[in-house]
Amino acid sequence: MKIKHIEGEKNGNIMMYTLSTCVWCKKIKKYLKDLGVEYHYIDVDLLEGAEKEEVMQQMKEYTSEVSYPMLVINEKEYIIGYKPDEIKEKLGL
């Protein structure tokens, strides 16, 4: 799977589901990078077939109303959309 890893300070397990064409997704990637936290992301639009289905299924486990970007913290809490304040709060920063 094409999960990308961005190095930084460990602050829980941050996984992001994004689209390569989405400008809000770009903003959130940059925001996390500027915060200096470690995170992983996957551009779902670049996946195909079974892999795409599998990732979409993973996202649906959190909510039926899936949209992008979706940030998941410690495989538990999730934040949909570019919401810097909420991200900071949930990461305790």
Binding site: T21, C25, V44, V66
Partner: protein, 165 residues
């Protein structure tokens, strides 16, 4: 994957969309860098799927299933009305243009696939799914929740519309 899209291509489409938007009473986001990035996303999706699928939504790749999210999407006008921007913030309201309102991410209005697949009953005149609005200046009619900000035909403002049906 975007590397083969030239700046010239992006600029050209941007200018076209900007002209068309203004002619129809719509506005592209005045943050040009942000907007051109979205335009690049539209070109990427055109190359990938053959149509301008919304850059901020996941396309299925099946055109019939993605029709509602081909830009300008079915949700642009209600989102402009309720949030002053479309889902991507490619299109923004006059308030945003005037600097009276800032663009922010908005919730997804598009129903999940399961709901979209449910068959819709054929409408008849006594149970129209939407009100019909009439521009009192030029007679333009449109069926939607609210009248447009500006009449796409004669550019009359929203307050010149009346409920017709």
């Amino acid at each position: 994957m975007n590397q083969d899209i030239s700046q010239g291509q992006i600029d050209k489409l941007y200018e076209r969309l900007d002209k068309e938007a203004e002619e129809g009473g719509y506005h592209l986001n005045p943050d040009i860098e942000f907007t051109k990035d979205l335009v690049k996303g539209l070109i990427t999706n055109e190359n990938r799927y053959g149509y301008w699928s919304c850059p901020c939504r996941l396309a299925s790749g099946n055109k019939a299933e993605d029709l509602d999210i081909i830009c300008p999407c079915d949700y642009r006008d209600p989102d402009l009305n309720d949030y002053d921007a479309c889902y991507c913030a490619l299109y923004v309201s006059q308030k945003v243009m005037n600097g009276e309102k800032e663009v922010a991410p908005i919730p997804e209005r598009r129903p999940p696939l399961e709901e979209r697949l449910k068959l819709k009953p054929v409408p008849n005149i006594s149970s129209l799914p939407l009100p019909v609005w009439r521009c009192k200046v030029c007679g333009y009619l449109c069926a939607r929740e609210n009248p447009p900000e500006v009449c796409p035909v004669c550019k009359a403002k929203k307050d010149r519309f009346e409920r017709f049906i």
